[in-house]
């Protein structure tokens, strides 16, 4: 293993303690999710957002057009 990689990991651990959720299963799930979001989070965020908006518009029948208008007037 590369020495600079180890140094980097040591430095990270020095800044902040590694996350521990108190339960090994929860910690594993957290590490898996956060691991995916650490680099290029938009690969996941954009499709998730599209799916959420699609499901919400189907479930609650809210007008996506009205929300877009409200947001566009909101800046």
């Amino acid at each position: 293993m590369n020495i600079s990689y180890l140094k980097n990991k040591y430095h990270e651990a020095f800044i902040v303690d590694p996350s521990d959720l108190g339960n090994p299963v929860l910690t594993k799930v957290y590490k898996r999710i956060s691991g995916n979001l650490k680099t290029m989070p938009f690969i996941y965020l954009v499709p998730i957002s599209i799916v959420i908006i699609f499901i919400l518009s189907l479930l609650f029948k809210f007008s996506i057009v009205r929300i877009a208008t409200l947001l566009q007037n909101g800046f």
Partner: protein, 197 residues
């Protein structure tokens, strides 16, 4: 260095201001007579005063927005610092300031995007197919930026306050509630619809 003509220029400017104020009242009382007199006016200083009043309005409106942002941002930094001290952590104010300043990136992108789209595709959106597709994309992208913002805020809290997962989440939830409450009052007072934070 003060010019020797300064006192004269100053008194002339004050006289012009007095005329402007007087005419404002006269325009209410006797508009016909006053406007006829105004039509023969040659004192350009009066135009500067009128311009200054108008500029002052836009300055105050802009200033109110800047002040809202400053209160929200500096309030955020202050609250986070206090929270960090509350958790008995050694917190540097510079760490909070830097992480939360960079945390404004999603907000800034969203506001610039909305500004550009406001002029390129002005609201209201139509319920046509194109309108629905654009609305879905715009709202989805806004939601993605909101998620990104939440991730950056989580990381800002975690790294600047050096907290564990539960403490960070607790602080994040409290912070979100605070921002939503302040936003509601900002919206009710007409200061901003979407807060710049």
């Amino acid at each position: 260095m003060v010019s020797k003509h300064s006192p004269k220029a100053f008194s002339s400017a004050v006289a012009s201001l007095a005329i402007v104020l007087r005419r404002c009242i006269l325009l209410i009382l006797t508009p016909y007579k006053t406007m006829r007199k105004i039509s023969t006016e040659t004192d350009y200083t009066q135009l500067y005063w009128i311009g200054l009043f108008i500029f002052l309005y836009f300055f105050i409106i802009g200033f109110a927005k800047i002040l809202t942002f400053l209160v929200l941002f500096l309030g955020t930094v202050g609250i986070m610092y206090a929270v960090g001290r509350g958790w008995k952590k050694v917190v540097k104010i510079s760490n909070v300031l830097f992480t939360f300043s960079y945390g404004l990136l999603p907000t800034t992108i969203w506001f610039y995007l909305s500004l550009a789209l406001f002029y390129l595709l002005p609201p209201p959106r139509t319920p046509s197919l194109e309108g629905k597709i654009f609305s879905a994309l715009y709202v989805s992208f806004s939601l993605s930026l909101l998620f990104w913002k939440l991730i950056l805020t989580y990381l800002a809290i975690r790294f600047s306050l050096k907290l564990g997962f539960y403490s960070t989440m607790f602080t994040l939830v409290l912070y979100t509630i605070c921002i939503l409450t302040i936003s509601y009052f900002g919206f009710a007072l007409g200061l901003s619809t979407v807060p710049f934070i």
